[in-house]
């Protein structure tokens, strides 16, 4: 069916184009969300990916839906890479971590899935090495998605104290994850 959709979309059928997008948006969104970890950015990048990919249907030899999704992922990967590189260039910074682009393909590629598992273990180990307050504030804020107010209420601290604690916890985690790039004396324990 997707092959037929691709063929009709290639001919300029607007209904087929919309149906093709509805059938293929989810893996692209998940792929992008894994990279940016932000719903708004993931939606925006998904749309930009289609805008870049669809005009190329005429020159592509995509015959089925799987091939089309693979092509969309390649476009999305290039899009994220360009955006990160541009941001790093504007800030005179090196590219942050393009290695995660490979692990973003963990849904289909076994090698990428193994890399993703290793990455997850590294982060969990670094989290486990933090002080209890640091580990808790990161868990509540980043993994469970609590707000500052809710976190402050749960930890019996003020909101300002939670922001400071969260900052210091993440600085400590950064040192653990990037030991070669972190300077000394920043984010020391109070």
């Amino acid at each position: 069916m997707e092959k037929e959709l691709v063929t009709r979309a290639r001919r300029g059928d607007r209904a087929a184009l919309e149906e093709l997008c509805r059938a293929t948006w989810e893996p692209i969104y998940r792929f992008l969300y894994y990279l940016v970890q932000n719903r708004y950015e993931a939606e925006e990048l998904t749309q930009e990916t289609y805008l870049r990919a669809l005009p190329m249907l005429d020159v592509l030899r995509v015959q089925d839906g799987a091939g089309f999704v693979g092509y969309l992922k390649q476009v999305a990967r290039n899009l994220v890479r360009d955006r990160w590189r541009q941001r790093s260039r504007n800030a005179h910074l090196p590219a942050v971590d393009l290695a995660c682009l490979a692990s973003a393909d963990s849904f289909e590629d076994p090698v990428a899935a193994a890399e993703a598992r290793e990455e997850e273990e590294r982060v969990r180990a670094a989290l486990a090495g933090l002080a209890p307050d640091y580990r808790r504030v990161i868990t509540l804020r980043l993994l469970e998605g609590w707000s500052v107010r809710e976190t402050a209420r749960a930890m019996d601290r003020s909101e300002g104290a939670v922001r400071v604690l969260q900052y210091r916890a993440l600085v400590a985690l950064r040192k653990a994850l990037y030991p070669e790039k972190s300077s000394k004396g920043e984010g020391d324990l109070p």
Binding site: E43, C100, G160
Partner: protein
Amino acid sequence: MSPEDRLSLYIDALIEGRRPPQAEGDEEWELLLETVRRVRRLAPPAAPEPDFPQRLAAALSHQLGGRRAGARWGLRRMTVFLGAAAAVLVLCCASYGYGRWSVEGRWPWWTSPPAETARERSAVEPGAPARVAGGDGQERAAVRQEASQLAASSSGPAVGTGGRERAIKGGPEVPAAGDRVRAALAPTGPVAGRAGEEEGRRPTVGPDAGGGPARTPAAPVQGMPAADPGITLIFGPREYRAVEVVRAGALAATTLELVGEGRARGLPDGERVPVYRGPDAVAGEVYTPVGEFWIRWAPREPATGGVQTGNPDGGP
């Protein structure tokens, strides 16, 4: 804003699915944000809003349609631009070739020589190449000097009725003998007549002004240099001497009447000039036009062997 607050805002944007604040920082700051994202990857991904597929399809249809229309409009603009550029290029080439080739008497196939040059070409004897006589000041000065020498020696090449020598093929440009005469008789001011015509100016007075036999100059002006007294005009049975040179504008309010054609002596042979006589002519004085000037002639002794042409009965 403190780094603690900036980081908290960034995390809030990630959690709530809003656009994260764009704030530049150093490498350590970027690593801190990447640390946040790495931790967030441990959590299950946040699903988009329920109507995201519909919004995505609508946005794609709208934007792709706009891009196609933009592409069509861009093609039109490109066509118009290329057409305009080609037109400008053709005009530049035409004008360049027009001015460059006309000096050599050749014309681009897409242009035609100006009417003035065509008229001049018809005045030249058949077989002579078309050319443009010199019109700049230095050349006129040289011609004037040459004319003075010719007048002093009373000898020179034969000239035709048209006042133009036959052009020498491949040789330097030679002004017409008529131009030399007018240049010699006009000690100051620009030289009009044929030379002026060749420069694209029409003479204001004189035989080439295109008017009828009656002219409207009069009243000589003081202070004008006198003509060479050695030059004489033979008109009918009488001989005239040049009295003075007056400006054409100074002869206003007086109507001169064309009475015939005389021949100047002391100038290159064969120079014929139209002779005018005013209603208030004193003792048979006549006028001859020289470009922008007029020469007033007074009768001398009765001449012998004078040649009268044009209007024998109209002579004094």
